[in-house]
């Protein structure tokens, strides 16, 4: 069994999160709900044949799962850090021979895994049902998976998730309740929603090139925020200023 401390911390966090029903319903339920709702939407759209705007519609829906990964991890990350603050569990934790980096990484892994897995699960269900519907509607090939969906789900979604977690860490050190931290971190979905709106309006194409550029931008922001979140997570401030 691994003795990698961040994984030990993540495992504990996952255990705690697993016992919070509201977080589970929110994290797993929302992607599944979106998958089912949009599958039904695809079915109704294809009732009278394959629409010309299929590509835009189907890929926009995949992009919604990317947006989800900017919202869902922040809930867990905010709970994971502010929750420790509220339950006053940080002091004994900080007195163990763990580094700030290990603690942050452990909490980050725990906040990252469930949302990304449930987003992938929701997206997979949506892609499978869409393929089934489209094949029955007369499309002669499997529409999904495709490269665009691959870049969105395997590259952009994880980067968006990391972004959300980093903002949650920074927000958590500035506010004293889970809701506040969650709300600040949740604001990260705005740029992603703007891109979605631009895509639907035809101002942004969900092409591989655009998605890769967008991913690169998010990666740069992720890197900058990583250093900022490390700088924000100071043991002394946590213990003396967090009330």
């Amino acid at each position: 069994m691994t003795t990698w401390i961040p994984w030990k911390i993540a495992r504990k966090e996952l255990k705690v999160i697993g016992r919070k029903r509201s977080i589970i319903f929110y994290t797993v339920g929302l992607p599944l709900l979106i998958a089912v709702a949009f599958s039904l939407e695809i079915k109704s759209l294809t009732a009278s044949g394959i629409p010309a705007t299929l590509s835009l519609g189907a890929e926009s829906i995949i992009y919604i799962f990317v947006i989800l990964t900017t919202v869902l991890p922040s809930t867990i990350a905010a709970y994971s850090i502010v929750g420790e603050k509220i339950e006053k569990t940080l002091e004994p934790l900080l007195a163990t021979p763990t580094t700030d980096g290990e603690i942050l990484l452990g909490k980050g892994i725990a906040a990252f895994m469930p949302p990304i897995l449930s987003a992938w699960l929701g997206a997979s269900i949506f892609m499978a049902t869409t393929d089934y519907i489209l094949l029955n509607a007369g499309l002669g090939y499997y529409y999904f998976p495709n490269w665009n969906a691959g870049v969105m789900l395997l590259l952009l979604a994880p980067l968006a998730g990391v972004l959300s977690i980093e903002v949650a860490v920074i927000a958590s050190s500035r506010v004293s309740d889970v809701r506040g931290a969650n709300q600040i971190a949740g604001l990260m979905f705005i740029p992603f929603v703007l891109v979605f709106a631009a895509g639907v309006q035809g101002l942004f194409a969900f092409s591989i090139g655009n998605l890769l550029i967008f991913s690169a931008v998010v990666l740069v922001v992720d890197t900058a925020l990583y250093f900022l979140s490390r700088a924000t997570f100071k043991r002394e401030e946590i213990l003396t200023k967090w009330k």
């Binding site: 069994m1 003795t3 401390i5 030990k8 911390i9 504990k12 255990k15 705690v16 016992r19 919070k20 339950e87 006053k88 569990t89 940080l90 002091e91 004994p92 934790l93 900080l94 007195a95 163990t96 021979p97 763990t98 580094t99 043991r235 002394e236 213990l239 003396t240």
Partner: protein, 351 residues
Amino acid sequence: MPPALPSDSPNSPFLSQIYLWTVFYETLTFNSRQSATYNQEVLALIDTDGLTKKFGDLTAVENLSLHVDDGEVFGFLGPNGAGKTTTIRMLCCLISKTSGSAKIGGYEIGNEENALRIRKIIGLVPDNVGLYESLTAYENLDYYGTLYKRTDSQRKESNEYFLKLLGLWEKRNALAGTFSKGMKQKLAIARALVHDPEILFMDEPTANLDPEAAKTVREFILDLKKQKKTIFLNTHNLDEAQRICDRIGILNTQFMAVGTPEDLERSIHGRKTVVQLRQVNEAILEALKKLKVKNIIREGNKLTFDVMDPAEENPDVIDAIVAVGGRIETVTVTSSSLEEAYLKLVKEKIQ
């Protein structure tokens, strides 16, 4: 003693030279090795010198110098806001010092590398128990065991040992959130001990506990004392400090006093002598004043006064009373209480 030259030392001149150089080296290093061993034996596990912590303009701890030896239970007494928790946090490398120095187990605090070493050899019971309420008692202990990189079998053994020792084994699968305050406190102590630390820091472990739970926790600390565990105990419970601690330090931002509970009691007022007389008169009072006896209190025919050394001073006092015709019924020597000592020191600081 340096190593002796054995009778079977080599006969060859060359080998003899080497041998003699070896013996010479051994002899030279013997004293330093002995000294190192000795230092290790008497090494203070906690050693601070002028340790100071400021938060902006506020000085929380000022110029604290103390040492705590291996196996000692050191009590840190002081009112709220005296800097007790801040001191523990500095010593546990949770917050930085402003100036001065401190060593824990020989490691100087103040850098991250040593901080990790120090945190490996200490256990902390904070003033808030800080348990994961949605984890079971067993899971709480096990999690901390993993953070100290204990193996599965070590964790299993120590979790079972402490849960049984503290009477929580039957409740091991119950969520910590369902525990009473006393049970939570016991679990927090067990959590601080899962890695068998050299030093245990406890920040007011019986605060907010009902008398029964406080007694249980106190008895457990006394058990740890019997096992020669080094304990640094923050408390403002004087009775607890007196019963548990080998030495007590009284802190009110600055160190006011340090010593055994008995030393502290004596150091404040010395000791009191109570003389019950058949009749007190002015001549007796005058005679006592001439002896420079301090703080004479008269209550009816009972006189109470301070003496530093009863064995030395009381015979003169008795002679003086008898010389002016006083008739003594009883002579009793009493000490001031730790509470009196504490209150006087804290009051002096406020004034």
